[in-house]
């Protein structure tokens, strides 16, 4: 029994190393001087540290612009998806009406929409709307990608708040909107944060549409900018890793905030057979 337990723990640590190594390697590479990176020496642990790579990445033409573009399209899309999704979620969760089941199903199916396979019609549509090479096109698409997920997940969170709380508030003299505004919405806070983090990461990561619709270099988002790092950085791996680290940072911070909610949100309802 004992040696088995030890073996399991050793295996767990080795697997942990496998998963953590790329992050470690990204950070240490970003902190190494260029001369160490382009040497044949073997340095799992850096010999000397520098922050020059970060300032190189930060000052590369296009980085700040791409960062701004990414922030704009992601935040705009998530904000819109959150508001529109919440309205739908409240209706689907709190109200009884004809056709409700159909709408629930619509959200569910829309969530599975194969966006990658809709590249061509999206391209043609944005061309017709004269939105090619314009950031609102991406914001609009990311809104559509994240909306069904937001509506569906928020519906789950609203379901989790007992209706009795709202009714109690209404007995105490709140109107329906007052009850929602003062009771349900504050309780929904954590759910809203978790949902928006997921939606944000989806938009932050998106590559195919950003690559296809934004051919103008000044409209590049961070993923597309980073994918061209060889034109941006050449063999400057330190700079490329520093840029990757800066790209990762916001996501990591968000993930740590909502870490506990993550699994439940995606597989809600999947647990029962």
């Amino acid at each position: 029994m004992r040696p088995k337990k030890v073996a399991a723990n050793v295996a767990a640590i080795l697997i942990a190393v496998f998963f953590a190594f790329p992050t470690y390697w990204m950070v240490t590479t970003a902190l190494k001087p260029r001369i160490d990176l382009l040497s044949t020496g073997y340095d799992l642990i850096p010999f000397s540290l520098t922050n020059v790579n970060f300032s190189t990445a930060w000052n590369k033409p296009g980085f700040l612009n791409a960062l701004g573009n990414s922030l704009f399209v992601s935040l705009a899309a998530v904000l819109a998806a959150l508001v529109v999704g919440l309205l739908a979620a409240v209706a689907l969760s709190r109200l009884r009406f004809r056709g409700r089941k159909g709408f629930v199903l619509l959200m569910l199916i829309a969530q599975m929409a194969p966006f990658e396979a809709l590249l061509i019609p999206m391209f043609l549509m944005m061309r017709d709307l004269d939105l090619l090479d314009k950031l609102p096109a991406l914001a609009l698409i990311y809104f559509a990608v994240t909306l069904p997920f937001c509506a569906w997940t928020l519906r789950g969170f609203v379901n989790g708040i007992p209706l009795e709380l709202e009714e109690a508030a209404m007995v105490d003299g709140c109107g329906r909107w007052g009850a929602f505004w003062r009771v349900t919405l504050p309780l929904l806070g954590p759910g809203l944060v978790a949902t928006s983090v997921f939606a944000f990461v989806t938009a932050w990561n998106e590559f195919l549409f950003a690559l296809s619709l934004m051919k103008d270099q000044t409209k590049e988002t961070l993923p597309v900018w980073l994918s061209g790092f060889q034109t941006n950085f050449g063999t400057d791996w330190g700079g490329a890793m520093a840029a990757s680290a800066l790209f990762t940072l916001p996501v990591l911070v968000f993930f740590l905030i909502v870490q506990r909610k993550m699994v439940g949100g995606v597989t809600a309802g999947a647990v029962k057979g």
């Binding site: 829309a110 061309r127 698409i141 559509a144 993923p223 439940g264 029962k272």
Partner: protein, 330 residues
């Protein structure tokens, strides 16, 4: 904060004075409200439903329609509508390149899905067995992998697999495999896809492991104790206790993985643009090359329709399970 305090003290005082005064407007509002109430759910749903129909429903229709048109740059700029029936389909289905790419996509997806689901399951079960420190180390490590944006991870992998200065080749040489000095991992499509596959598995496993771990800790402990008393071996315990409890969840995450991994584009494109010599091109990459690079929108739409059809098969199977599992909640 103050709202809670005022309700306690204010309600009894208000009840006597305001009730009669409120009766009339309340009644009026209910009559007016009933029509409003009936419309309210649809008003709340309208923005979402209109957005979905416009930005998802219409493109789905449009991709079908476009796949029956000849639509290259010439037709697009002139605004011509040329119907060609099934010509686009005939063109792609008659092309052996398409079949190579389709087969490659299916095999690649299957490989990545099997590898990542198996690894996720093993890690989930491992997390139950190990001590707290090892478990937290695993969870933190997987969280780091999960949080890294696709393109950041792709760039890091490119660096690790770099021909001259990559840490992998350096390590292999250090271990005595001298032939790996200056070895390029991207000379053939298969080895390129192998590296990309490893990257995708690495990215996919954290979600799978966390989901399956959440499912696994839900299995009652006494079932394992009973199995232990009956003298069941580890494998028998897995077959009799873990497997039946975890199977529905496992099926769900397998379906999701198939849907996700089939559509992978960013990593493949960022590594070698589908190269070398088209050797790592999958259907999503093919669609991009035909549609966006060459402006053959009609042909690309036909490729998209084939993709949608394949994905739809998987999606229907997945949704049927999901709806069945949620029957009570719908």
């Amino acid at each position: 904060m103050t709202a809670v305090n005022t309700t306690d003290s204010a309600v009894p005082a208000r009840r006597s004075s305001s009730a009669p005064r409120r009766a009339a407007p309340d009644g009026a509002r209910r009559r007016r409200g009933s029509a409003f109430d009936r419309l309210l759910p649809y008003l709340l749903l309208a923005p979402a439903v209109i957005s979905i129909l416009w930005l998802i429903g219409w493109p789905v229709l449009s991709v079908l329609v476009t796949s029956f048109r000849k639509l290259n740059l010439k037709e697009l700029t002139r605004g011509e509508v040329v119907w060609v029936g099934f010509d686009n389909y005939a063109q792609i289905l008659g092309d052996s390149t398409f079949w190579t790419i389709a087969l490659r996509t299916v095999l690649f997806t299957a490989f990545v899905v099997v590898a990542s689901v198996l690894a996720g399951l093993l890690i989930a079960l491992l997390m139950r067995r190990v001590g707290t420190a090892a478990r937290i180390a695993l969870q933190v490590a997987m969280l780091l992998a999960w949080a890294m944006p696709l393109l950041a991870a792709t760039t890091v992998y490119q660096w690790m697999f770099d021909q001259q200065y990559g840490i992998l080749n350096k390590t292999l040489v250090k271990l005595g495999f001298d032939s790996f000095a200056g070895h390029s991992w991207f000379t053939t499509g298969t080895s390129t896809l192998g590296v990309i596959g490893l990257l995708i598995v690495w990215q996919a496993v954290p979600f799978l492991a966390f989901s399956l771990y959440a499912g696994a800790i839900g299995i009652p402990k006494d079932q394992y104790e009973a199995a232990g008393i009956d003298g069941a071996s580890a494998w028998q315990t897995f077959r009799a206790v873990t497997w039946p409890e975890l199977k529905p969840l496992l099926l769900m995450v397998t379906f999701l993985s198939m849907l996700w991994d089939f559509k992978v584009f960013a990593q493949i494109w960022a590594f070698k643009r589908g190269g070398p010599d088209g050797g790592s091109t999958t259907l999503p990459v093919y669609q991009y090359l035909e549609g966006i690079s060459k402006s053959h929108f009609g042909v690309a739409a036909a490729i998209s329709v084939v993709m949608v059809a394949l994905l739809a098969l998987l999606t229907v199977a997945y949704l049927r399970r999901l709806v069945r599992s949620q029957e009570g909640e719908l």
